[in-house]
Symmetry: C2
Subunit: 198 residues, 2 copies
Amino acid sequence: MDYYSNQISRLIEEFSCLPGIGAKSAARLAFHLIHMPEADVKRLADTMVEARQKVRYCKVCCTLTDSELCPICSSTQRDHKTVMVVENTRDLAAYEKTGKYNGVYHVLHGAISPMIGIGPEDIKLKELISRLADDVEEVIIATNSSLEGETTAMYISKLIKPIGVKVTRIASGVPVGGDLEYIDEVTLLRALDGRTEL
Amino acid sequence: MDYYSNQISRLIEEFSCLPGIGAKSAARLAFHLIHMPEADVKRLADTMVEARQKVRYCKVCCTLTDSELCPICSSTQRDHKTVMVVENTRDLAAYEKTGKYNGVYHVLHGAISPMIGIGPEDIKLKELISRLADDVEEVIIATNSSLEGETTAMYISKLIKPIGVKVTRIASGVPVGGDLEYIDEVTLLRALDGRTEL
């Protein structure tokens, strides 16, 4: 690509490595950046480096945070006896947005997937088990409803039940506003199995 | 968003300001970054700042480059008597990828658009006119086939013709591989008007 300058080509290449950004979006981003005020580019770059340097795992729940304990784990308003297990911080954020869950979380940072070589030791499971000594009454497994999420849920429940802690799984079924016509068969059967009395 | 750390929230906010990146993609990018090796984040940040600082306009054709003259303007292999006018560097790159155009370029960095307040003085038109004294024989207008691109083409042709330089416009018609059935009426009429004898 000798029709772009070296700097631009390198920038496009770097952007293309980010998830969800193809060659065209990378070029678009690069040219946008070139036309941004220099101070803004500097600030964006600094924010990136600073975030990467300062963000770490919460000592208790393993979510991403910038202090030793995340705001949820250090809150006295939350019910620390109920722990919801999620795959990543975005899933935690999704439940926090509902504003209705008052327990705490545990972030696994992944799900067991033998297909791509992710085993139980590659996710934050050890950290979950060591928390259970601290007076936890219920573990709600909220991993995704994918093959990996279900595998992880099964694995965790088999691991925790013998300890004597109650283990539950979030319901799987037809999403609110979902049209039955467009919903896959597995979900329809799950919804049927999980029916509740009115 | 107190369920993310400050750093992550700020990073997501910064990413959301980039073109084509919504709230969800911004979060995805931010979390990807947090999990990247620190050295890679540093390199990406440096590339961004360096590109913004070093890239400037070519003295002759106004394309983005890192030296005084871009590789095309400084090449002795190119025909400097033929100047193709494009809206931006990506359009230049598109023609360069064909490998068949041997003239030089002029990059306007925009198109005339009274709707959003971009007038002839806001694009690199003055620079184009001042080049015409240098023995230019033909100006090929390759602005987009949009309302703004057409307006700009008309404006430039009216400006240049009195100087006595040949002005041409790239053909507009059915794209190669295009199915007539799915092509809009304006394009179909353009293709008819621009028909050539076989």
